[in-house]
C-alpha cells in the first residue's frame, strides 16, 4: 500500500479537483497526493464514477414541429409587443410592473389580499381619525384630501 506524504484531502476538495474547480495552486498538490494515497485516490475515483453516472441523465429532444409552433407564437407576441411600444421607456416599465404584480397576486393570493386591505384601510378617513394617524403623520389627512379632489 502506498503511504501518503501529505495530509488526506476532504471529499469536497477532491470533488472540486475532479471538476477542475480548485484554486490553481491546489491542483498540482492534490494531483501529486492522489498518486501516492490509495485512500484519497479511491474516493476521487468514486466521485469520478458518480459524475459519469450523473451525465447519463439525458433529456429527450423536443420535435422540430413543436419548436416551430412555439417559435411562431413567440414571434407573434414579440411583434405585437414591439408594435405596442413595449420595450420602450416608462410604458414598458409600467406594463412590466403591472404584469409582475398580477403574477405575484396569482401566485400569492392571501398576502396580496392583506396588502390591498392595508392600503384600503389607510386610505379611509375613518381609519385616520380612529387611530389618530394624523398625530403620527400630521399631513396625512391633507394628502388624502388632495387625492380625493384629484380623483
Amino acid at each position: 500500500m502506498r503511504r501518503p506524504r501529505s495530509r488526506h484531502y476532504a471529499e469536497e476538495e477532491l470533488l472540486m479537483h475532479l471538476l477542475d474547480e480548485e484554486t490553481p495552486d491546489m491542483g498540482q498538490v492534490i494531483s501529486a497526493h492522489l498518486l501516492e494515497c490509495d485512500e484519497c485516490d479511491a474516493i476521487s475515483k468514486e466521485y469520478a464514477d458518480l459524475v459519469e453516472r450523473i451525465h447519463t441523465w439525458a433529456v429527450a429532444e423536443v420535435s422540430e414541429e413543436v419548436w416551430q409552433a412555439q417559435k411562431a407564437a413567440l414571434l407573434t407576441l414579440y411583434r405585437q409587443d414591439f408594435a405596442g411600444g413595449r420595450g420602450k421607456g416608462i410604458i414598458s416599465f409600467f406594463l412590466t410592473s403591472v404584469e409582475a404584480a398580477w403574477n405575484y397576486a396569482l401566485e400569492h393570493p392571501l398576502p396580496t389580499l392583506g396588502y390591498v386591505a392595508v392600503v384600503v384601510a389607510f386610505a379611509l378617513e375613518q381609519t385616520i381619525s380612529t387611530f389618530r394617524l394624523d398625530r403620527i403623520l400630521p399631513r396625512a389627512s391633507e394628502v388624502f384630501e388632495i387625492l380625493r379632489q384629484v380623483f
Partner: protein, 194 residues
C-alpha cells in the same frame, strides 16, 4: 461563408425589434434552456410551456442584461433556472407527489458511455440510476439544485454561478458538494454504487 453572429449582436438587434435576430437566439438556446427547465420541473409538457415563458421573459427583460457583469448565456440560464424553480414550486404546491413523466422515463440516449455502466444489465441499471438522480434532484434545496444542474449539465463554472446567484464561491462549492454527496449516498442506499 457567413460567420455566425455573436450573442451580443443578436441581443442588440433583438432590442431594436429585429425578429430574425430573436428567432436565431431562440434556435440557439431553445434545447439547452428546455433541458435545464425540464430537469427542474421534470414534466415534458410543463417544461415546454415554461421554456416558452422564459423566452417571453427574455426579450422583455433583455435591456437588463449587462455584458460587463455576465455572459449572455449565464444570464439566460439564470433566468431559466429561476423561472423553472418558480414553476416547480407552484406545481409542487398543486400536486402532492412530484410528477414523473412516463414518456420521458423510457428515454435512453444513443451516445456511448463507459462499459462499466453499459453491461448486459446496464440499460435497466441506468434507468434506475437516472430515476434516483431525478428523485434526488427534485428533493434538493433550491440553491443546491440550481448549482448541481448548471455545473453538471450546462458546464457553467462555479465562479460564474456564484456571480449569477450573488453569493460567495465557497457557498456555491459547498452547495455542489452537498448535492453530489447526498446523491452518492442515495445511490449507495439503492445499491447503485459499485
Amino acid at each position: 461563408m457567413v460567420s455566425p453572429q455573436s450573442d451580443e449582436d443578436l441581443v442588440a438587434k433583438t432590442l431594436e425589434g429585429e425578429e430574425v435576430a430573436f428567432s436565431l437566439l431562440h434556435d440557439r438556446y431553445r434545447q439547452r434552456i428546455y433541458s435545464t427547465v425540464y430537469r427542474i420541473i421534470q414534466d415534458a409538457a410543463a417544461a415546454q410551456d415554461a421554456t416558452q415563458e422564459v423566452f417571453i421573459k427574455l426579450y422583455r427583460s433583455l435591456s437588463d442584461w449587462n455584458p460587463r457583469r455576465a455572459k449572455f448565456s449565464t444570464w439566460l440560464y439564470r433566468l431559466a433556472a429561476n423561472h423553472a424553480i418558480d414553476c416547480w414550486r407552484t406545481r409542487r404546491r398543486r400536486l402532492e407527489a412530484p410528477p414523473f413523466d412516463a414518456s420521458d422515463r423510457e428515454y435512453i440516449p444513443e451516445r456511448s458511455i463507459s462499459d462499466a455502466i453499459f453491461t448486459p444489465f446496464g440499460v435497466l441499471e441506468r434507468k434506475e440510476i437516472v430515476e434516483q438522480i431525478r428523485r434526488r434532484v427534485d428533493d434538493l434545496p433550491e440553491l443546491q439544485k440550481k448549482v448541481f444542474l448548471l455545473r453538471y449539465f450546462e458546464d457553467l463554472k462555479l465562479e460564474e454561478i456564484a456571480e449569477m446567484e450573488d453569493c460567495s464561491l465557497g457557498t456555491v462549492k459547498t452547495s455542489l458538494f452537498r448535492a453530489t454527496h447526498s446523491l452518492r449516498r442515495a445511490l449507495r442506499r439503492a445499491g447503485g454504487s459499485r
